[in-house]
């Protein structure tokens, strides 16, 4: 009898294996433009980063503004919609759905910027809500075109997951929340303070490092999870509460009186958040990269969605190049030459995006900090559009 069972099991197993093998062989023939073909390239993707600069530095080589055949851009254009992976857990200010069912937020606006650059229409876009667990798989399997879901750019993810990160749109980092009436303005004011922090996280270690580096003392009050940490701070057990700034913003909504609290203008760790695309299509990666740069550059030139029309009459050569009035700058990255105009008209420059979602007119009132232009002491720096 036992022999019987083993035989049957072996039979079923071999059948399943054969079925799987058959499908794997079929994949490339049935779907030439689909993810299946690029999947084999991933192990040998090392030349991809070197190919990317080559494509941008030699726009003169390609005279046509057409996107590469079989590339992601062509697929998006033929589909007529961009598929953008966003956060399924609402992150206030970054991604949430308003009462009319419209997606809004900082990450969402960058999705719209990409759609605007491709279609001159920021509504030609499908949002795909993704959980933290499935976000990278969805990108790898080609289910989404671009992932803009507050994902931190790390070497591990960039390399091992086969992804490419466009420039950071939001420099997140560990922040500190305090009560407004405490009079605390900087970390130095917190000498001897009690601070609520989640245990076993990098947050806890960063906190100790930052305070030791400044020669300050503090009493940590540790909790096993984020919810109890927030609850303890809310109950007044601590003077301060520390976690990532975007996390502080979202916990602000859950405090019993959000108006009594503020987030200090200090950043204690590196959490660069930006759009990610799948490795294997350098042109698409370049396009997303320069779409982000265009929002930085527009702010640097002072071009907004309001005053765009004045700049379209500008005589300054670099502005004319940036707005696509001269030259063929878009051609090399598969975008129309006026892609910057489209982004600015429909979505705005970086400052407009930031202020609309996180700035002084919003309940968050989050200082720009590192997310300011390099000219203002921040980290936003766009390579020249020439």
């Amino acid at each position: 009898m036992r022999k019987h069972i083993i035989l049957v099991l072996a039979g079923i197993l071999s059948f399943v294996l054969a079925a799987c093998g058959g499908q794997a062989q079929q994949a490339p023939t049935t779907a030439p433009a689909q993810p299946a073909t690029t999947a084999p390239e991933q192990p040998t993707a090392a030349p991809a980063p070197t190919a990317a600069p080559a494509a941008t530095s030699a726009p003169a080589g390609g005279t046509s503004a057409q996107p590469a055949a079989g590339g992601v851009i062509e697929r998006i254009l033929s589909r007529g919609r961009l598929i953008c992976g966003v956060n399924n857990n609402p992150l206030p200010g970054f991604a949430s759905v308003d009462s009319a069912g419209v997606y809004r937020g900082f990450d969402i606006d960058f999705c719209r910027a990409v759609a605007a650059a491709l279609f001159d229409d920021p509504t030609k876009i499908d949002f795909r809500p993704l959980s933290a667990q499935e976000r990278f798989t969805a990108l790898q399997s080609g289910e989404i075109d671009v992932l803009i879901r507050n994902s931190t750019w790390t070497l591990g993810r960039d390399g091992a997951l086969g992804l490419d990160w466009a420039p950071t749109t939001f420099y997140d980092g560990q922040g500190m929340m305090v009560r407004k009436d405490s009079g605390i303005e900087t970390l130095e004011d917190m000498n001897g303070a009690t601070i609520c922090v989640q245990t076993g996280t990098t947050t806890e270690l960063n906190l100790a490092d930052q305070f030791r580096a400044r020669g300050l003392t503090f009493t940590p009050v540790v909790f096993p999870d984020g919810d109890s940490t927030r609850a303890a701070y809310d109950a007044g057990q601590c003077d301060g509460f520390t976690t990532d700034k975007s996390g502080l913003i979202s916990s602000l909504t859950l405090l019993s009186n959000p108006g009594d609290h503020k987030i200090l203008d200090v950043t204690m760790s590196k959490e660069p958040l930006g759009p990610a695309v799948r490795q294997g299509d350098p042109q698409w990666f370049d396009a997303v990269r320069w779409i982000v740069f265009a929002t930085f550059q527009a702010e640097e030139y002072g071009i907004t969605s309001q005053n765009l029309d004045q700049f379209l009459n500008s005589d300054v050569p670099e502005i004319r190049r940036f707005l696509g009035l001269e030259g063929e700058l878009g051609a090399g990255i598969g975008l129309p030459n006026d892609f910057a105009v489209r982004i600015i008209r429909h979505v705005g420059n970086y400052a407009e995006i930031y202020n609309r979602n996180l700035g002084p007119d919003t309940p968050f009132n989050l200082p720009r900090g590192l997310n300011a232009l390099y000219t203002d002491g921040g980290l936003l720096y766009s390579p020249p559009f020439r």
Binding site: Q34, A36, V97, G101, S141, E143, S250, L254, S256, G259
Partner: protein, 410 residues
């Protein structure tokens, strides 16, 4: 005359009648320490109830759920196509009302309950905001029409009765594909892609699809597990034990993440379909075991008697064993369906936004940032109430079916 005399013997034993005060004294204030316990507990209950009620009245977060009612019900379903979910609701209510007239009993109870809830919500719905570009009926009018439709079709069916019995059964069977076509489009209707679906609509769709599709599959697996053919039996045992050994979350992840990697053209399979498939496969394994329990409860003599009468295996199964087995496990199955209905909230982790996901989103909307205490208590209470109404309805139905079975046995 003799019969009259024998009457009193069948009278029930007289019930002991005690007054309220006597009852209180006997149960709550019998000894000095019972008096203390009663008073303390009364105080605690009074405090809890009054503070809850006063919180309910003064809570500032109720507008969050009401202004976002569209999100809770249909998530990002296009506003200009909202008439379609309304049409599907109308269709289901029409069938429900007709069934109520034909069969009465439990169905009528559900119908009148649904009508009462519709009418009640219709009054509340006057406060709902109008959506920009709305072409569908306003909420209050729709809900009143629903209540009218339920009662009206019930009265209509009372007159027709037997004439519409079979057409109605066929209509119920067709209503599921019809609802999908109305919601999704095709056949001339513009397509509304499933990635825009969500909220209560998605929760109900997942639950109903899971129940409707897993039922035949589960029954087949249960029969297969009792089959005398070793290959079929082994396959069923393997399937059931494999699925039962894995949490639902894992099956959902398998469906959402692994399936697209295995199959060519990952985009082509709809995320909603993947979730429905995963839920169905999972639920079928449990259902199979429940049905098998019912099958095993049937005495062997029944099958032997059926064979002796000349029924073949199919006839024996379909006419003798299965009807009795299913009847025996109705309470268990309804319990399983209630669990399935609530388990659908797990799809949040694979990126579908069901009722719970929509509520989570509302809590995260920036405009509630200034509300003291946030709006999560009120919002989650509202969706808890929605879950409760459906689960309670199902459990009542199960209770009634149980009672009927118990009565039919005597």
């Amino acid at each position: 005359m003799a019969t009259e005399v024998s009457r009193p013997s069948s009278r029930r034993a007289p019930r002991q009648q005690i007054g309220l005060i006597e009852w209180l004294r006997k149960n709550l204030f019998s000894t000095w320490y019972n008096v203390i316990i009663t008073l303390v507990l009364l105080y605690v209950i009074f405090q809890a109830v009054t503070s809850f009620v006063s919180w309910m009245i003064t809570a500032p977060g109720w507008p969050a759920a009401f202004t976002n009612i569209k999100l809770l019900l249909t998530w990002t379903y296009p506003v200009e196509h909202l008439w379609r979910p309304q049409a599907v609701t109308g269709l289901v209510f029409l069938l429900l009302g007709l069934s109520s007239g034909v069969w009465g009993g439990i169905v009528r109870m559900v119908t009148f309950g649904a009508a009462a809830i519709s009418a009640g919500l219709g009054v509340v719905a006057f406060t709902f905001p109008d959506l920009p570009g709305q072409t569908s009926l306003p909420g209050w009018l729709f809900l009143f029409l629903c209540a009218g439709l339920l009662i009206g079709s019930d009265q209509l069916a009372l007159r027709l009765r037997d004439r519409i019995r079979w057409p109605l059964i066929i209509a119920w069977l067709l209503s599921y594909p019809a609802a999908i076509v109305i919601l999704r489009g095709g056949f001339g209707l513009p397509v509304v892609e499933t990635k825009l679906w969500g909220g209560l609509m998605l929760t109900l769709l997942l639950a109903i699809s899971g129940i409707v599709l897993s039922f035949p599959l589960g029954v087949l697996l249960a029969l297969g597990r009792r089959s005398t053919l070793p290959v079929i039996r082994m396959f069923c045992v393997l399937y059931i034990e494999l699925i039962r050994g894995v949490p639902l979350v894992t099956v959902l992840f398998m469906g959402a993440l692994l399936l697209p990697l295995f199959l060519p053209g990952g985009e082509s399979i709809d995320a909603l379909v993947r979730a429905i498939v995963a839920i169905t496969l999972f639920s079928a394994a449990y259902l199979a075991e429940n049905v098998r329990g019912g099958l095993q409860s049937i005495p062997k003599g029944q099958i032997e008697a059926a064979r002796a009468l000349g029924l073949n295996v199919f006839q024996t199964t379909l006419l003798i064993t299965l009807p009795q087995a299913l009847r025996a496990v109705v309470p268990v199955l309804v319990g399983q369906f209630i669990a399935l209905f609530k388990d659908t909230s797990l799809v949040v982790i694979i990126g579908l936004v069901d009722l719970l996901g929509a509520a989570q989103n509302i809590v995260g909307q920036p405009q509630w940032l200034g509300t003291p205490g946030g709006v999560w208590r009120e919002t989650f209470l509202v969706i808890a109430a929605i879950y409760w109404v459906f689960s309670f309805t199902m459990s009542r139905i199960s209770k009634r079916i149980e009672d009927q079975i118990a009565r039919s046995r005597h």
